[in-house]
Symmetry: C2
Subunit: 217 residues, 2 copies
DNA sequence: GTCTATACGTCGATAGAC
DNA sequence: GTCTATCGACGTATAGAC
């Protein structure tokens, strides 16, 4: 008779895995990947260090899972923002995406820096490339629609989209790297970090898109 | 009498170190960091694998040295381009930098991808951040001058500069990742990869800067 | 699940400089 | 004779194939 995992045991294992991920997410938000040592994650999850390897074969895989989880939330938030602005112009939908992305990043600076630029592991780097392509495609379809309708001047939608993704990410890294004051309460005060960053980025975006009246400074 | 390294021996050691770096640069340009295994570098340099560790304590340190060497060349090329355009408008100087950077990247796609985006090692990632800040500062001073003189509309020069750095890098990653055809001869044919990429990027840049007449498409 | 291949980093041995 | 630079094979870890 082979060993069979009972539902109760399986549930406990699943709960433990969830606890590991939750612990990792918490540490990631507070101290970035630098704080996500296997020992720290295990301690916060209330298990032994070695037990983490029951769920993830390596630190790199855990890092990737945390990355995908958090960035998945951001994709959802951004998609929702684009959806809510569906009745507006293409440029305004792009702006809605940028504003949502940037303001959320600035509210969680340490987390945003970890996702955008913190040197971590080649596996996470590879995942960054994947998600950047995804964001690019979102922008590209919006821009292509704008060009199609004549709202935006003719342009290579993919290239503009790529450039906007890179611009948004890089523009945020600056304000994010300066104040790595983790307990500054910026997460709850809203917009305490880099005042004026979002409007400036919006202006940049509108101009780059070639919107005729870019008077949003 | 303690052992003293004679000049002849020292010269031989220095030459060997140079050979290692040269071998690494060649492999980097042909196959990216993926081709820069310690064994391959040693073989091309004509020494034993273990001897590489006489000059570099780890692969990461060698990777960083290669990165700094190549990017240093790019910084020099870009600086020269900015200098040659010193008599022109600020926007044109920014464009000169972008054009130089982008066209050089497109002529050596594999190398450019390795420097810009290839997942490698956290140490190289950290170096990327350093050099991006350097490029940002170059743009920032040009833009600040343009705003000062009234050539460009009022804006946060640092933020625009960061955004342009990110935009340029990200816009190139796309065209670079597709054709990783290394022996395609694109290095000598000039501009065989991503036709139209540079003009499109220039248009994007001019619009983003807020140049009044951005009719350069 | 096993087995092979690849690659980093180390080590004892050797040849040669001092 | 002593110390050192170099070699190349080995240990270990990991990823992929079968």
């Amino acid at each position: 008779m082979p060993y069979r995992r009972t539902p109760a045991v399986q549930a406990r294992i699943d709960a433990q895995r969830t606890a590991v991920v939750e612990a990792g997410l918490g540490l990631l938000a507070e101290h970035g990947y630098a704080g996500c040592t296997m020992a720290a994650v295990a301690a916060r999850a209330g298990i032994a260090t070695g037990s983490v390897y029951r769920h993830f074969p390596s630190k790199a895989e855990l890092s990737v899972e945390l990355f995908r989880t958090v960035v998945g939330r951001e994709v959802a938030a951004v998609s929702e923002a684009a959806g809510l602005a569906a009745h507006r112009t293409c440029a305004e939908r792009v702006v809605a995406v940028i504003e949502t992305f940037a303001s959320r990043a600035l509210k969680s600076p340490r987390l945003a820096y970890a996702l955008l630029a913190e040197p971590v592991d080649p596996a996470v780097d590879a995942e960054r490339l994947v998600f950047r392509r995804a964001f690019r495609d979102v922008f590209a379809s919006l821009i292509a629609a704008g060009v199609e309708s004549g709202e935006l001047p003719p342009q290579d939608a993919r290239l503009t989209a790529s450039a906007l993704v890179g611009a948004g990410a890089e523009a945020l890294v600056g304000p994010l790297t300066g104040p790595l004051t983790e307990g500054s309460g910026a997460e709850t005060a809203g917009e305490a970090v880099g005042p004026g960053t979002v409007p400036a980025l919006v202006t940049f975006t509108l101009r780059a898109l070639g919107v005729p009246d870019a008077h949003h400074a």
